[in-house]
Symmetry: C2
Subunit: 350 residues, 2 copies
C-alpha cells in the first residue's frame, strides 16, 4: 500500500478515541469533533465552512443549495413512515430550511444481499409518493448490493438541489439578539416512534413519526416575511442540539421556556419510562424559525394556518448575553443550561 500520501498525522489522538463509536454519528459533541477535526480540517473551503444544512453557491448567476444525507434508520418501517419517505423528506427539508426551493433529488441504495424485493418495492412506492407530495423529482440514482451480514437490509442516500430566490439569505450566522424563535408543534415524536418500534414497546401504536416535507410551510413563511434570519429542522440530537448549534455559530444566547414547548402526553410518558430527555430526541417534521420581533406575529399566524403548523408557538428568543449558551426557564420557574448532547442517546434514528 502506498503510504507516501499520508504524511499528516491523524488529529484525533490515539489515546483519545482510536475507533469510531456509535456516538460519532449521534449529532452531539463527538460527532462535532469528528467532523471538525477530520473532515473540515481537510476538505476546508469557503462553501463547506458555512456549515449550514445545505451548501449554497452561485453558478453563472443562479443561486443554488446542495445537500446530502444517508439514512440508516432501524427498523426501516416504523409508525408514520419508513426509510424511503424519511429519506425524501429529510433532504427536501435540508434544502428548504436553507431558503431554497427543492427541485431535484438523487437516490443511492446500498442493499444487503437477501433483502426482500417486496420490502424494497414498498419503500420505493413511499419515496415516489413523498417526492410527489413535496413537488420534487428523483432524477438520478445508484444501486449497490453488499454481501449478507455486511449491511443491514437497506441504507439510502438522498442528495438534493434547490434554487434560492433573490433576496433570501437564511444562515445560522444571521441570527440576531431580539429574534423570536417559533416552533411548529410537538417535539420528540420521530425518535420515540423509532425507539418504540425497535423495542416493541407497548405505546407503539399511538406514537407516530412526524416525518413530513416542510417546503410548502417554509414557502409560506418566506412569502410572509422577508426578514427570516435562520431556519433549522431539529432532527438528530433534537431541539437542544439544533439550538446549541445556532447559539454557537451565531455567537448569541438563546433563552427558551419549557412551558411553551409542546410534548404529547404519550411522548412524555414514554420519555419518563425510558429515562430520555425529549429535548434531545429527533424530529423529522419540525422547524425552528428565527425572525425579528416585529414580523413574529404575522409569521406565527401564517404558520398556524398551514396544516403542518397548526400548533406553532413562540418558544423563546435570542439574547446578546449568555453567548453560545442555551438556557431554559423551567416549569417551576428556575433556569437551567441546555447543553449539547455528548454521547449517543438513540443510535440510528435517521
Amino acid at each position: 500500500m502506498d503510504k507516501t500520501d499520508f504524511n499528516l498525522a491523524c488529529p484525533i489522538p490515539k489515546n483519545d478515541y482510536d475507533k469510531i463509536l456509535l456516538a460519532h454519528g449521534g449529532g452531539g459533541i463527538l460527532s462535532n469533533q469528528l467532523i471538525q477535526k477530520i473532515f473540515f480540517s481537510q476538505f476546508d473551503n469557503e462553501l463547506l465552512n458555512v456549515q449550514h444544512d445545505s451548501a449554497m453557491f452561485n453558478i453563472n448567476g443562479v443561486r443554488l443549495a446542495f445537500t446530502t444525507d444517508s439514512y440508516v434508520v432501524q427498523p426501516i418501517f416504523f409508525p408514520g413512515g419508513n426509510i424511503g419517505d424519511l429519506a425524501i423528506n429529510g433532504t427536501v427539508n435540508d434544502l428548504a430550511v436553507s431558503g431554497a426551493k427543492p427541485l431535484y433529488i438523487s437516490v443511492g441504495f446500498i442493499i444487503e444481499e437477501g433483502f426482500e424485493i417486496e420490502e424494497l418495492w414498498r419503500i420505493v412506492l413511499s419515496m415516489k409518493q413523498a417526492a410527489e407530495k413535496a413537488g420534487v423529482k428523483i432524477v438520478t440514482g445508484d444501486t449497490k448490493v453488499v454481501n449478507k451480514g455486511k449491511g443491514d437490509k437497506i441504507f439510502i442516500n438522498t442528495s438534493g438541489i434547490g434554487i434560492i430566490e433573490t433576496g433570501i439569505d437564511i444562515s445560522p450566522i444571521n441570527v440576531k439578539p431580539g429574534d423570536v424563535i417559533i416552533l411548529n408543534g410537538k417535539i420528540a415524536e420521530h425518535g420515540i416512534a423509532i425507539l418504540s418500534a425497535r423495542e416493541g414497546l407497548e405505546f407503539e401504536t399511538t406514537i407516530k413519526s412526524d416525518t413530513a416535507a416542510l417546503n410548502d410551510l417554509i414557502d409560506r413563511i418566506l412569502k410572509t416575511s422577508k426578514k427570516i434570519n435562520v431556519m433549522r429542522d431539529p432532527t438528530r440530537g433534537g431541539l437542544a442540539s439544533a439550538l446549541n448549534e445556532i447559539a454557537n455559530k451565531g455567537n448569541v444566547g438563546i433563552a427558551i421556556e419549557e412551558d411553551k414547548i409542546l410534548i404529547s402526553e404519550e411522548v412524555k410518558g414514554a420519555c419518563e419510562i425510558l429515562g430520555l430527555d425529549p429535548l434531545y430526541i429527533a424530529n423529522e417534521g419540525k422547524i425552528l424559525v428565527f425572525v425579528p420581533k416585529d414580523d413574529a406575529g404575522k409569521v406565527l399566524d401564517a404558520m398556524k394556518n398551514h396544516p403542518l403548523g397548526k400548533e406553532s408557538s413562540i418558544i423563546g428568543s435570542v439574547t446578546a448575553e449568555n453567548k453560545s449558551l442555551v438556557t431554559m426557564k423551567t416549569m417551576i420557574g428556575s433556569s437551567r443550561i441546555v447543553d449539547m448532547i455528548s454521547g449517543e442517546q438513540l443510535p440510528r434514528i435517521c
Copy 2:
C-alpha cells in the same frame, strides 16, 4: 404499519426472485431488471428516463448535470487507490462523461462502529487530494454510524454537480452509425487489482487500479471536437456492459476488434488463472468516446497527448446493422456476440 399506500403489486414476480442477490448490484441483466421494473417504473420522469450517467437539466437558463454513486468496494485499500479517491474520481467522471465541468461534490459516510479513525483519516486525505487534482470542491457532507456487524468498515456516497457549457450535447441516444469508438488505454485493471487485493493473490503487487479523474482529458476532447456524440466510462460490468448499454439505448450495432483492445500481460494472465473475461471487468480510469469519422483523427491525437490517454486507440465503430448488438472480430478472425453480463462476476468492486 399503514398498508393502504401499497396497493400496487410488486412487478418482479415472487417465483422469479423474491430476494436481492449480489447480481442485482452487478451492473448486468439483473441490475437492469431491478432498475427498470422497480425504480424507473415508479420514479418515472423525463429527466430520469434519459438514463445517462448524470441527470441533466436547466435551472433558470443554466444547464447542469447531477449524479450520485455509493461506494462499497472491498477491500477499502487496494493497489492504486482506496475507497476515498475512488469515490471522488467516480463521481467526477460521471459528470465529465455527460459533458459537464464537475464543480461541487457532496460526501456521505456510513461508518461501522469500531472502524479505525486512523483509516478514516487516510481515506479523507486521499479524498482531499483527489478533489484538488480534479479541481472540485467538497461542499457538504453527512456522517452516519451503524452498529458493529451491520456495515462493513465504511461506505461512501458521493453526489456531484457540474455545469454543461452551451453547444455540448452528449448522450447515449446521440450515437450514430459511422461513429468511431476510441478507448484511452488498457482495460480490466481496476477489477483485477481489487480481486487480487481481496484474495491476496500473488500478482497483487504488479496490477494497480486505474482510478483517475478523467475531466481534464475530457475537457481536452471537447475542445478538440464539437461533434462528440457519446462518452461513457466503462466501470461496473466493464467494456462489454458499457457498449451494450449504448447499443441498446441508441438502437445501433457496435462492432469492435479484439486486437485493438489493450490488455496488459499481467491482467491477461490473472484473467486466465481466475477464469474471468477482461471485457466484463471494471475500469475506473477509462473512457469510451464516440465521434464521427471525420473528427476521429484529431480527437485520437488530442487524447494521445494527454497523460491519461497515451495508449488511446480506435477499437471499433457504430453500425446501422445488428441493432442493439455488440459484435467482436476476434484475434483468429471470427466474429462473436459480446453479451451483456447476466450474473455477478465480481461483487463490490466499486
